[in-house]
């Protein structure tokens, strides 16, 4: 008869191999646990131990149960069975590194106080043995009073013994005897307990007393303001009686641990030189370390940019092809348009981000698993601490230059909550690849003709610099205002290097991709459909005729002329190609013929494009854009730019397509939109004169705004709060507006 399932919590230091053990036990039967208010991931999984099902909870790696953030507090409350609707663990598995028992047992001694049976899983015994460390497991069990299981989780060695030990521990249900803290500490903790409310475990009273300024203190003093004075007095009394806080706790625990290791562990007298020593000599060396770092970052950045691009284009081509298929089989109408321009474009827009996310996460998982990530943070900490961030913020921010979505997801490696939030909030300021279409369009239109050859490059460079300069400044401001405090300590372990596990890398990559599609995907799709709706309706003109009914016959009628002109243009382009390739001047008559073919093509498209432009002008979004024109005026914008900007709320690059429609130009001919904008602006009293300042103002706006639903959706997902995405969108839009306004007004002054 199968017995009732057991809840088992896995707890251990970072790098104890806890995740490897979790994966080895649960295989594919795992998912991300959903705990309210927790921003780090806690995974749950199941495995079978004989007839019994084990529900495993993989808690985030931690050095101690002295909670310093709300996330760590939830982990402690979960272990104590104080999280509503979550069963208390039946058994706690304390995962420790065999090579470094002296330190890893510190957490074990705290776990022994929780009143739950503890199994000591000594992992990576092979590495320890290779390093000359000899462990007497029987003595370890005797001295700690815990069941001990030697493990090599990466090779699956010892898993059955671990399961058996878990079942045994649950069957007896006897909590271990923790090493005693000084009597004075116990007395003060006991004295505090009555004021903390019915049923508060003694463990929390101890933590409250021992963790000066910790989460337990914040939790209890929030509802009981008098408690803080009481605590201070108790701590002074302890210090006077020779038990200073927090040193007393460390002294008691390490005293116990030393007694245990003295009997159970023999380490070599002379510490052998390790792989890690030799590797570190190069990897954090002043010159070689810096060069390796720069090279790695370059490869990482290039692979997000270059490797992902063909795949991203593949999604574009794929969704266009699918739209074409739908257009062929369906008759024109709202449903067809919703399918092609709303849903297919929306799903394509979501999937497009996948290649970048997968590549970045494979790289991050690799770097983290092999131990290099902390070295990168070590190298960059000085630079990042200048703007109130930490070394671990570097890779997320660098990744954001390709795309903020994977960049924000990469902030999970930052443990400090405030550092992590600050990094998330400034990541969208880095100039991502979606801004490029906007930049290249306007640069081509305003900075290429009759200008010095270096100007386009300089303008583009300047646009990238805006992000690099503004992001640290904003980070610093945030760290000094909304996210003040918490910087004081940056103590980071540099773990031993190890060979990364392919399974872990693939798993991290798939988890990240899936999390994005599932959690951010729906929000992106929803906003794409919303924007489609306000751009599509009303779909009848003043006479009540449907725009589509006007467009379709016209299209059929003009098709032969369009085909002929396109064919002629392509033929001419082919003839011209050799001249361009060998950098010889193109013969005048050929160039003129090409211009004529292009003009014929535009003429064949114009009637349809004009109707489209009229349609969008009268759509709800077009009406809103025209109504808001006074707000765009100080930036030098007309309602068309304004409407295109509003329409690009789901994704920045949408502005190009929308402007094509509003300016009644053909998307296939990139240069055409540029010249159409120039012609349109030339007729205008201010924009005609100040074309360059207007173009710059648009670019500056897009450099600083957060017109990207994917980013907002990911911020929502990673912070588990609506407040932060709303805050990010608001501050970035305000910043973008003011900066665009200044750009235009200053440009006007200079040009005037």
């Amino acid at each position: 008869m199968p017995s009732k399932p057991l809840t088992v919590a896995l707890v251990g230091n970072p790098n104890a191999g806890k995740s490897t053990l979790f994966n080895a036990l649960s295989g594919l039967r795992q998912h991300v646990g959903n705990y309210p208010g927790v921003t780090v991931e806690m995974k749950t999984g199941t495995c079978a131990a004989g007839e019994t099902t084990l529900h495993l909870i993989d808690l985030p790696g931690t050095y101690s149960l002295a909670a310093r953030s709300p996330d760590e507090m939830v982990a402690v409350e979960l272990l104590l069975g104080r999280v509503p609707n979550e069963p208390p663990p039946d058994v706690i598995v304390s995962v420790v590194d065999a090579s470094n028992l002296g330190r890893h047992l510190y957490l074990t001694t705290q776990l022994m106080e929780l009143g739950v049976p503890v199994v000591l899983a000594v992992n990576m015994t092979d590495v320890a043995a290779a390093g000359g460390t000899v462990i007497d497991f029987a003595a370890l069990a005797r001295e700690t009073g815990l069941p001990v299981v030697p493990l090599q989780a990466n090779k699956g060695v010892g898993l059955d013994q671990l399961k058996a030990a878990i079942l045994d521990a649950a069957a007896t249900g006897k909590p271990p005897t923790p090493p005693p803290l000084p009597d004075a500490v116990e007395r003060e903790a006991e004295a505090l307990r009555p004021t903390l409310g019915e049923g508060t475990p003694i463990f929390l009273a101890r933590r409250l007393l021992l963790d000066v300024g910790g989460s337990t203190e914040q939790h209890f003093t929030a509802t009981n303001p008098g408690l803080l004075e009481q605590l201070k007095a108790a701590r002074v009394r302890l210090a006077d009686s020779g038990c200073p806080i927090p040193a007393a706790e460390a002294k008691a625990r390490y005293g116990f641990i030393r007694a245990v290791t003295a009997k159970a562990v023999v380490v070599p007298a002379v510490r052998p030189k390790t792989w890690t020593d030799s590797l570190d000599r190069v990897l954090i060396h002043k010159l070689w370390g810096t060069l390796t770092f720069l090279l790695l970052m370059f490869v990482l950045f290039q692979s997000i940019f270059v490797l992902a691009e063909p795949l991203m284009n593949g999604f574009d081509v794929g969704s266009e092809w699918l739209s074409g298929q739908v257009e062929d089989v369906m008759s024109p109408g709202p449903l067809r348009s919703l399918l092609t321009e709303g849903i297919i474009a929306g799903v394509g827009g979501v999937l497009k981000f996948l290649p970048q996310i997968l590549i970045l996460f494979a790289a991050i998982a690799f770097l983290e698993d092999c131990g290099y990530m902390t070295r990168a943070a070590f190298l960059m900490d000085r630079l990042m601490s200048r703007c109130g961030l930490s070394g671990k913020s570097f890779i997320p921010l660098l990744s954001s230059v390709a795309c903020a979505v994977p960049g924000i997801m990469a902030t999970r490696v930052i443990e400090n909550r405030r550092d992590r939030l600050a990094t998330i909030l400034v990541a969208p300021l880095m100039s991502c690849s979606a801004r490029l279409p906007v930049y290249s369009l306007l640069i081509a239109a305003f900075f290429t003709k009759d200008r010095p050859f270096w100007l386009p490059g300089l303008v583009l460079f300047g646009m990238y610099m805006i992000g690099f300069i503004v992001a640290p400044v904003v980070a610093l401001l945030l760290r000094r205002s909304l996210l003040r405090g918490g910087t004081s300590t940056f103590v980071m372990e540099l773990p031993a290097y190890k060979r990364p596990s392919l399974v872990m890398v693939v798993r991290r990559m798939m988890d990240a991709g899936w999390a994005f599609v599932r959690r951010a995907g729906t929000l992106i799709l929803f906003s794409m459909i919303l924007v489609w709706t306000v751009l599509y309706f009303p779909n009848t003109d003043a006479t009540g005729t449907k725009y589509e009914d006007r467009i379709e016959p016209l299209k059929e009628q003009l098709q032969p002329a369009l085909d002929a002109a396109t064919e002629k243009r392509d033929e001419l382009l082919e003839q011209i190609a050799p001249f361009v390739k060998s950098k010889v001047e193109v013969p005048k008559e050929l160039a003129a013929a090409l211009e004529r073919a292009k003009a014929e093509r535009a003429a064949a498209l114009k009637p349809v494009n004009d109707i489209r432009a009229e349609w969008k002008r009268n759509s709800y979004l077009g009406q809103l854009g025209r109504w808001m024109e006074p707000a765009f005026e100080p930036l030098g914008w007309d309602w068309k730019i304004g409407t295109a900007t509003l329409a690009s709320f789901p994704a920045r690059e949408v502005i190009v397509g929308t402007m094509n429609i509003l300016y009644a130009t053909d998307e296939e001919d990139g240069g055409q939109l540029g010249s159409a904008i120039q012609t349109d602006w030339a007729a205008h009293p201010t924009r005609g004169v100040y074309g360059v300042p207007v173009a710059l103002s648009v670019m500056v706006f897009f450099a600083l705004c957060c017109q990207c639903v994917s980013t907002l959706a990911v911020i929502r997902r990673e912070t588990r709060s609506w407040w932060w995405p709303v805050f990010t969108f608001t501050y970035m839009t305000a910043l973008a507006y003011v900066a665009a306004l200044l750009t235009f007004q200053l440009g006007k002054l200079i040009a005037g």
Binding site: Y63, S64, A66, R68, S99, N100, G102, R103, Y106, L107, G131, L210, D211, V212, G213, G214, I245, P246, A247, E249, A250, K251, Y254, R271, T276, D280, I284, H285, K286, L287, G289, T290, T374, A377, F378, L379, M380, D381, R382, L383, S385, G391, S488, T489, F490, V491, M492, E493, L494, P495, A496
Partner: protein, 76 residues
């Protein structure tokens, strides 16, 4: 002398850890205690933070924090 005064490769014994309670506690959890022997491994290329080794544990800490740890150098 303080931890931040040591030279790369130099060993020392930790005498006392000053600073706020959270730092002292954090260092203790990560294995740095009074009476421990440590080795100053190196300084990051940009001049901060530093790396120290206690047994098989390597820790990185900022110079500002290291200055709060007083040590006695172990004879060469």
């Amino acid at each position: 002398m303080s931890l931040s005064d040591l030279l790369p490769g130099q060993r020392a014994t930790v005498l006392a850890v000053a600073g706020n309670a959270a730092l002292i506690q954090r260092l203790a959890e990560m294995g740095l205690l009074e009476g421990d022997e440590i080795e100053f491994v190196t300084t990051a290329p940009l001049g901060d933070p530093i790396e120290i080794r206690i047994g098989d544990t390597r820790l990185s800490l900022r110079k500002a924090d290291a200055a709060l740890i007083s040590v006695a150098a172990v004879g060469e």
